[in-house]
Symmetry: C2
Subunit: 80 residues, 2 copies
C-alpha cells in the first residue's frame, strides 16, 4: 500500500540555533515580540509498504541513516 | 494571551527542488523507493496576542514580510 509519510527534524533542546536567533531578531525589527522560536526541517513523501507499521520502520531507518544526526537532532514520524 | 504558532513554508507546486531530488536519490541508495518527496521549513514560536485571530494575522504578516517569498513559496499557519 501507498503511505504518506511526514518526517519532522528538530534540534535537540539546548542546542544552539543561530538561524532561529536571527529570525527572532528580524521579527522583532518588524515590531512583533516572539519567544522560544525554533526551526524544523520537514520531509514529506509517499512510500510503498505492506502496512503503516512497516512504513514507520522504513521512515525511522531513513531518519537514522540519512536525515537526522542523532547527536544533535530529534525527529518525529507521522504516517498517514 | 500567549499563542503557540507553527508556520510551515513549502515550495509552490511545479517549482524545482534540487534538495528534494538529492534526498530522494539518497533514500533510493538505502534501498527504499519513495515518491513525490517534498521539503518544508517549519518555524514554531510563542506570540503575545489578544486572541487567536490576531495571532494568525501577525503570523501572516511575518510570513509575507520576512519568511516566505510569494513568488515561489506557499505557507500554512497553525495557531494552537
Amino acid at each position: 500500500m501507498k503511505c504518506d509519510v511526514i518526517i519532522t527534524i528538530t534540534l535537540k533542546e539546548g542546542m544552539l540555533n543561530p538561524e532561529a536567533e536571527a529570525i527572532q531578531r528580524a521579527i522583532a525589527h518588524l515590531g512583533y515580540t516572539t519567544d522560544r522560536l525554533a526551526t524544523a526541517d520537514q520531509f514529506r513523501f509517499t512510500l510503498d509498504a505492506e502496512d503503516k507499521k512497516q512504513a514507520e520502520e522504513i521512515a525511522r531507518s531513513i531518519c537514522e541513516r540519512l536525515l537526522a544526526n542523532p547527536v544533535i537532532h530529534t525527529y518525529t514520524i507521522e504516517v498517514i
